[in-house]
């Protein structure tokens, strides 16, 4: 159980495919613990397994680490999938794995996420606002996507016409 370095692009772990996991696998439990330790030592509110070099589908989200946010507190999800998204919004987003840069990305205000708890129970999490953004960002990591893949407008250009 250890604090792992948070990998930065161009580390290829961030662009790889990640395997679904079986909760009873002790190796998975070790990854979860490393992610929790690493999150606790980081300035962020969420992590995905590839960010610590583990090519598996595990995310940890705890928006209560940010002042003024509560959400669902600490959520650990294995094999998470986003079931539905509501309410488009443009967000200026950054990532610990892509330092010193932010970009405007299209996200959604509400996200319904399904996954397994570390004990293997199926759960759905209905997240909104900041927490919904965190889930969208972390699930993207599991699919090898960075916010750079989603930048939709450059700087303050609000004038682009919808085709």
């Amino acid at each position: 159980m250890a604090i792992r370095p948070i990998l930065q692009y161009p580390h290829q772990a961030l662009k790889s495919t990640n395997a679904a996991v079986v909760p009873s696998d002790p190796a998975v439990q070790a990854v979860v613990q490393d992610m929790l330790d690493t999150l606790a030592a980081s300035p962020g509110v969420a992590l995905a397994a590839p960010q610590i070099g583990q090519a598996v589908q595990v995310i940890v989200v705890d928006v209560s680490r940010k002042k003024g946010e509560r959400g669902h507190g600490l959520v650990v999800l294995l094999n998470p999938v986003i079931l539905s998204l509501e309410g488009k919004k443009s967000v200026r987003e950054g990532c610990l794995s892509v330092p010193d840069y932010t970009g405007n990305v299209l996200r959604y205000e509400e996200a319904l996420v399904e996954g397994l708890t570390p004990e293997g129970r199926v759960v759905t999490v209905s997240a909104s606002g900041f927490e919904a953004l965190a889930f969208q960002h972390e699930v993207d990591h599991l699919n090898g996507l960075l916010f750079l893949d989603r930048i939709e407008s450059l700087s303050t250009d609000l004038f682009r016409r919808k085709k």
């Binding site: 962020g44 509110v45 969420a46 967000v91 200026r92 987003e93 950054g94 990532c95 610990l96 330092p99 010193d100 932010t102 900041f130 953004l133 965190a134 960002h137 972390e138 700087s155 303050t156 250009d157 609000l158 004038f159």
Partner: protein
């Protein structure tokens, strides 16, 4: 020690301008770093920060580029960039705001808004404006990113901007830019 220059260049928009500029700079041994390029109606405009190779100074770069870019009728200006300004720095956590201003077009909107921002020590770090609407009733739209050293200055600036609304006949919103890092 690396040396840097800023190039501004523009010309009638057509396919191939960026390719030609980038290829010309590459042939001269320049390395393109940060850039910003956009189309202003029929003109394509470029601002490029480049790292200069040994043996080329910024003052010569325009002259060296011209033979490459003449076919596209580009106007080019180059200037050396101070080393301090060219160094990459971690962005500071400075409160950043978005200001949208729009209204019937008339001279002076940009000047008065920018003056007001400056009087409150606001630093405009990015800005776009566009004339929209029909020919006989043009609307002016301006969006700018403003950084303030202290978040407390925001209320005073907001009040000052509110007072501009009736004077300029514009609508505006001034809001904190939320940036999230995961």
């Amino acid at each position: 020690m690396d040396h840097f220059a800023i190039i501004t260049a523009f010309g009638p928009d057509r396919p191939g301008i960026v390719a030609l500029m980038a290829d010309s700079l590459h042939q001269l041994g320049c390395n393109i770093e940060d850039t910003c390029m956009t189309r202003l109606r029929g003109e394509f405009t470029m601002m490029l920060m480049v790292r200069l190779p040994e043996g080329i100074v910024a003052e010569d770069l325009g002259r060296r580029l011209t033979p490459f870019t003449t076919p596209l009728d580009l106007a080019i200006l180059c200037r050396a960039m101070p080393d301090q300004a060219a160094s990459r720095q971690t962005p500071l956590e400075i409160p950043t705001f978005m200001l949208s201003v729009y209204g019937a077009d008339h001279p002076g909107i940009v000047a008065q808004v920018a003056r007001t921002v400056a009087q409150h020590q606001g630093n405009i770090t990015d800005m776009n404006t566009r004339v929209i609407g029909s020919g006989d009733r043009p609307i002016y739209v301006m969006v700018m990113e403003v950084q303030l050293q202290e978040a407390q200055q925001a209320d005073q600036l907001r009040q000052a901007l509110e007072q501009l609304k009736p004077l300029l006949g514009v609508d505006l919103t001034f809001r904190l830019l939320e940036s999230v890092t995961f």
